[in-house]
Point group: C3
Chain length 341, copies 3
């Protein structure tokens, strides 16, 4: 889509400085930008990159000067840039129309504008809301439901009964609603504990490539609105994740753990079962949170077993000085022995 | 399936107390149970939840009282509940019949009752035993073999020659028999070491979503009967896993490691190559077991590098007290200097 | 393929001792070898296994004696064995011809010898070089490009515009070019930062099963020639990985990190964003490298946060002796108090 800088300024509700008639059709980093790409500058140290860029228009923080370019002034240039990008570059369609090779049950209810890619399989009683796009090789198990404007990239599996809100994005290889990992032991063997619960994914959730989310065993797995899950994340049965929580790649959350709103979880974090992370808690990368542990609201933790970041850093500093401490103990012992002698 | 409480008691071989004529058609947690759902009560602290449940029938531990409901007495209520669930709620079919879009080699041998979903691909010389279900988009490479009553959810890949026993369950996205990660270096470059070995999965194994299991390089990768693998687990070439071992999500086991029977491995555990975990060993979540290490039978280990849990806890307790220890050393040093002065 | 030992010796440019007329058609470990399998012996401790093997021909290190077999002498038997294996056992075809069920855009350009498996989907403007094999259920998004002699196992996804070199191998479930994990926060909610950059995979790269590689956000994700990625690896947006670097299973590399040439990264390593691993650096399994950290060329690191291996070992040894150190401090305190008393 091509827009003038003026149109963009109006859409973004920001002030324009310079030539508002130039055309913009994309976004880029300063180095790779072409003349019709928008760039952004947040701090003075990025001004040089921007000045030598071919781009003619930049979203720029207040107080920064950049000569010879059209400027869009914004307190948060990165945010405004992201919104501009979403407007200039609507995502390419994942599917257009309903491909003739899609296998769609007669009892599925696809709303107006639903697009289905080649070889998708849509079982009985599936519902999909308006303009939802379902990529090639997606499998929507019986009774699964998607809201409006969802985007399932090729090769996403919804197990039977999975329930997705509006504007959910799921990347290739994601599996939603698989059986939880629960067994009852009997003499060394294991019986499968029933994994017949529900799974509900809220509005505006994004699910990374090859991420897996298990359904509830008897209860429900819930991913609230606005949650973002990176690639290869594992969410176990009966986990609840609060709104706008962000979870980086390869993190795993075990059964029945409750994660609050606005929590930030780094990559490769392990959260054991029955934990509770209160609203706004932060778990650093590779942290390990043992069974049943609570992380208080706003607390930042790191390490395995996880402890408050400040404490971790203090302990870790002394850990690095262990050889020195040992030497000092040795000296003390010598001194005392000599003192006695 | 609907059964009376009497029928259920007989099937489960447990004692019934109360009205045996009530109908049961499902299982649930006490909070979400409907009148025809079965619930279970293991401990006194769950009695309140059960008492206010709409469910009319509960599996209950000896000695617990629950008025107004039909009770099924069992020493292990959770186990009996699981068995009841498997009877009342047989898993929904993954496929029924052989879908006309499935691409099946003329040389494949599918036993009676094998069901194949849409767009599955079954290559030359594949064998599948009676009543095995093969989901949509499954790929069974040439010469792969499945036993009876297996359940492959949509989008499972068996590389050529993979060999599965009876009643194996594989969840969506699982990859079985891929090449191991082995190279021979020559001047900075790498030649692929042959990955032409075998892979054998025993009876009653369950394989989680997006889990990957590599074939042997020259030898064989073996997953014995009853093993349960959670989601996103990685099993490398030539690994052997003994019967009834349980491995939680995102754990990785490197080449040629041997895991015994009844071993329990937590989530995100890393086991390097050529390790040995003897029967009944336990590795706590995120533990890291270095190359060639042996974990003795029945031992519980934690941490990286992994050590006995008791030792880990003792060391870790002192780790938390490092700032205090450092302070005490400082005081000692001061005292001695003063003593000397 | 069947070859005589003489032909093999000539192809491998090694010296033959013994009967050069015997036929060879495969490779194996000594225990499972049949008469026409080649084996290899690197060290004296493997001589016994070789001597009792049914194999009649072995690649063997200089100075080792093995009676009654045809010997191929090589300074690096494992390397020569790997090269022999590649010659005797060319990989089985992933696809032959273009399967009639493949959905291929009229604007796709498939070179001579390209093979496409059942139900593959190839979108507009895709290019594939000579003799490239594309397995069943592969999805090649619009404008993606593959070089010659690539091998995509069944069920690989290339997002639009992904660019692969020659002889790239991608295993089942790999996802190449998915969106990076980048958002801009606004009042608790998150806007998607544009993920519209490029992704380029060099020649001779191998990508493991269910591994995910995100495209650049604005810039480019680059995996240089000869890189080997194991299963379930996560490579984030804008990461650059230098030639011949090897990364073991379940490792994750966060946005904009730069990994040099010939780097070796163990399993389950976590590398935060904006790190730099210089050429030849080594990160031990489960190491955690914090944001922005540089690992110098040739350095070996371990632990979280990662530090030089030698330092880690020294610190860790003292960690194990913490109970003892604490006891010694206690004794010192007692002695001094008594001394004072």
């Amino acid at each position: 889509m091509t827009r003038t800088a003026n149109e963009l300024a109006e859409f973004l509700a920001v002030t324009l400085e310079g030539d508002g008639s130039i055309q913009l059709s994309g976004v880029a980093a300063p180095e790779s930008a072409r003349v019709d790409d928008l760039i952004y500058v947040e701090t003075p140290r990025h001004l040089d990159r921007a000045a030598t860029s071919q781009a003619r228009c930049a979203v720029i923080a207040p107080g920064l000067a950049l000569h010879g370019k059209t400027l869009l002034r914004a307190a948060n240039p990165k945010l405004v840039f992201a919104r501009a990008a979403a407007w200039l570059l609507p995502p390419a369609p994942i599917a257009t129309g309903v491909h003739p090779t899609a296998v769609i049950s007669a009892t599925a209810r696809l709303a107006r504008g639903v697009a289905v890619g080649p070889y998708a399989v849509i079982e009985e009683d599936v519902e999909a809301g308006e303009d939802t796009e379902i990529g090639a090789f997606c499998f929507l198990g019986r009774g699964s439901r998607l809201g409006e404007h969802c985007r399932l990239y090729p090769r996403v599996t919804l197990y039977a009964g999975a329930w997705l809100g509006n504007r959910v994005i799921a990347h290739s290889g994601a599996v939603i609603g698989s059986d939880g990992f629960g067994y009852v032991a009997e003499g060394g063997k294991r019986w499968k504990f029933p994994q017949v619960g529900e799974i509900e994914i809220g509005d505006d959730v994004e699910i990374g490539a090859n991420t897996t989310i298990d359904r509830g065993s008897l209860g429900r797995t819930e991913i609230a609105a606005g949650v973002k899950l990176d690639n290869l994340v594992h969410i176990a049965h009966n986990v609840h994740i609060g709104e706008h929580t962000v979870i980086a790649a390869q993190t795993g959350i075990s059964g029945s753990s409750i994660v609050g709103r606005g929590v930030m979880i780094g990559g490769q974090v392990g959260i054991a079962d029955h934990c509770r992370l209160e609203d706004g808690a932060i778990a650093g990368a590779q942290a390990g949170i043992p069974t049943g542990k609570t992380i208080r609201s706003g607390q930042i933790v790191w390490g395995t077993p996880a402890r408050p970041l400040k404490k971790f850093k203090e302990q870790f500093a002394w850990f690095g000085r262990l050889p020195e401490l040992a030497e000092r103990i040795g000296k003390l012992e010598k001194t005392i022995v000599q003192g006695k002698a």
